[in-house]
């Protein structure tokens, strides 16, 4: 590593921290919103299901970059809000993550067989009890691997926040490139840092998956 670039190590480090923070925040918010939307997606009322389907299809079809612009400029303009790049990026990432998580939640719940509902209902459990004690603990095991995938893709999408001026890892790197004039090395460092972060998440996911497996 050339000394000019190495001198900026703390900028990269801060960028890593901010990228982790905003993608984590978006995953948590997206997880909560996605859980609600995912449950509405399988609700017994057609109109509610339809609304959930529209939400999911819209926000997973629109490219994240368009959402970033939409939130930063569109929301600010339409609702007379003065959104910071951070708020706009968080909202945009949450919209995409929640649409993806909603499908993960739906698939997880639908993976539990009808017989499980029937066994639990036949014991006199109410729907919330069946869900809490029988369905959810089984669904969450199915949801774990694709959730890790959603987190990784959210983290990568967060690099687009650099476009609206939010200084996360990619933007930090671009700033270092500007002040040092060194391009290839800086971009390589950014790529390696993303790889280390995402590969670590992937490893943690695999470990969690193993812990959550039923005994066989």
């Amino acid at each position: 590593m050339s000394p000019q670039v190495a001198a900026y190590w703390y900028v990269f480090l801060k960028g890593v921290g901010i990228t982790l923070w905003i993608s984590w925040l978006a995953l948590i918010l997206g997880g909560v919103v996605g859980l609600v939307i995912g449950l509405l997606r399988i609700a017994p009322w057609a109109i509610v299901r339809w609304a959930a389907i529209v939400y999911i299809e819209v926000f997973r079809s629109v490219p994240p970059l368009v959402l970033f612009f939409g939130c930063f400029y569109g929301l600010s303009f339409a609702m007379k809000l003065d959104l910071s790049p951070f708020s706009a990026a968080t909202i945009a990432l949450t919209l995409t993550a929640s649409a993806l998580m909603a499908e993960v939640v739906r698939a997880g719940i639908e993976s539990v067989t009808r017989g499980q509902w029937e066994a639990a209902l036949s014991q006199g459990m109410t729907y919330p009890q069946v869900f809490r004690y029988v369905i959810w603990p089984q669904a969450i095991r199915v949801m774990l691997p694709p959730s890790v995938g959603v987190y990784i893709s959210t983290l990568k999408d967060s690099s687009l926040a650099s476009i609206i001026g939010y200084v996360e890892l990619t933007k930090s790197g671009l700033l270092v490139r500007e002040s040092t004039g060194i391009s290839f090395e800086v971009l390589l460092i950014i790529a390696i840092l993303y790889f280390i972060i995402n590969y670590s998440i992937s490893l943690v996911g695999t470990a969690l998956e193993r812990r959550f497996k039923y005994v066989h």
Partner: protein, 250 residues
Amino acid sequence: MSTDPSSPVLRIEGLVKRYGPHLVIDGVDLDVAAGQVVVFVGPSGTGKSTLLRCVNGLEDIQGGRILFEGQPVLSRSSAIHAVRRRIGMIFQGFNLYPHLTALQNVTLAPVKVLGEPAKDVEERARGLFRKVRLEHRAHAFPSQLSGGEQQRVAIARALAMNPHLLMFDEPTSALDPETVGDVLAVMEDLAREGRTMLVVTHEIGFARHVGDRMIFMDGGKIVEDRPPEEMIASPENPRTRQFLGSILHH
């Protein structure tokens, strides 16, 4: 176990069940007294399993009514939960909770639904594991148990709620032949204890030895309802004769 011994535990009047245009149960009347073991036989698709599923409200009904211990069974009312707590159901596919151990399968509902202290329930569960001859398997997960063992855990799970009626929906149909006997032996013990039981099965030997009544169903109707010995020895209806002939000569 019913409060008034003279009134039936279960009364079914003019029951009609349709799936869309398809008539599955076509006007069934049935009274079951406390302590009776009623065995349902007949070709598949004649509404035997559906009948059981109507009794605990897993299916809604299109006509007639069902009274369990004098209370109407309404699948969509909130009172259905209280009815189901007093009816144990055993399924063909066991339907044990795969994320819980055998013991946890048995204790879950009494603790969470009936709100009983976990310690008491666990003690009762241990007794039930002895009853179904699985004391050594209480801490195994369902995936570690054979089909016959899983079905006996499912029976213990149903018994843990202290039900007033037990319903068995083809309990041995999904089992390897060598484990069928263990499950039938447990069911026979329960019958000897005087429990009220509805059993859908193709095990004619079980019906003959354990059943008080044998009901032959065909086309969504009860065709014949008599003591098993009599029905097997001299079926009255030609359809009963044909059906029993086909399964007894195998």
